[in-house]
Assembly symmetry: C2
Homo-oligomer: 214 residues x 2
Amino acid sequence: MYQKFDLKEKLRFYVITDRRMSDEVKSVRLAIGGGATTIQLRIKDASTREIISVGMKIRKITRDFNVLFIVDDRVDVALAVEADGVHVGQDDMPLKMVKRIAPNLIVGVSASNLKEALKAEEEGADYIGAGSIYPTVTKKDAKILGLASLRTINDAVKIPVVAIGGVNHQNVVKVLKSGIDGIAAVSAIVGASNIRESASRMRTLIDNYFRETR
Amino acid sequence: MYQKFDLKEKLRFYVITDRRMSDEVKSVRLAIGGGATTIQLRIKDASTREIISVGMKIRKITRDFNVLFIVDDRVDVALAVEADGVHVGQDDMPLKMVKRIAPNLIVGVSASNLKEALKAEEEGADYIGAGSIYPTVTKKDAKILGLASLRTINDAVKIPVVAIGGVNHQNVVKVLKSGIDGIAAVSAIVGASNIRESASRMRTLIDNYFRETR
């Protein structure tokens, strides 16, 4: 997989599913229609068979549209549906284990501080999901990282950094100014009444920023 | 692994954890002390990291005592903690996917009827968990298989069959008379006030049955 694309490019606009806001398959289709470059499937509280069933549908759509497909937490599901990668938080499988049992997956790691980010890079993470940048309705207990720390993390690691947590159309340019490679969003996209339009506006903001600055 | 032991022998007395009844690590230690030959770790509603942490402790104990170690549902956890196998129900990962992503794991499959059992054998299952034999407090919505159907399944497949669901000290001999290779228990063992003593009595009943009949 790695040879086929530039990971940084793919991580520019990273959309995460949330069934409390919208059906996964439907929201993925609309988000990709609006310009999402990476999709993360995040489902808790469903049977493995159901997660796999949804994952297979998303694998098909993402492959058809050349979008990166990452599965949250579940390495077994990522392998079963042939996702491109898996994203692990600090409560998920330790990175070293992921690398051992799934050496061919792209692995993203959540970091809420510099120490976690440096450890993840050292252990072989392919990218960092840094956050929460702002308070977010999706994870009410999330630690707030803030933009200054986001910049510190981004300056400290060589692997791509995606900012997550409370990023929306209003603040996305400010977040991108910290020098990161992409932004991840849940509610700003899959919680929107018009998911495709919301994704399209976000993609335009991101593209305009990168066109003007890099 | 396969070459190192007789799977049928190992499946004779199969104890499944349940944190609603007793701490997993503690109950595993006591059940093995009482004679369990297989341990299945079954945890829902915990983070992957927590399941792995418990699983690593159980891997150590089961290895020390030469007991088979099976993880319920989670193929990723089974691979990460180097369990001997994984057990999948009809709501878990489809067997063919399990065999593809984890070709070296022993795979058990739940069957509540003959059709499911035959399909599992055909697709490469290593053993069948047939049940529920009786109504059980652990899975209130479980389909009841009954002893006649258990015998039908056991006669129809070549792979080992373990009976599960409501098996206790009172009915275990009756269940074994259907010709199966082992019994699995949750509440009769890990729900007992004295887990070690309960396991020891069960093991004696099983051993006596096999000594007298086979």
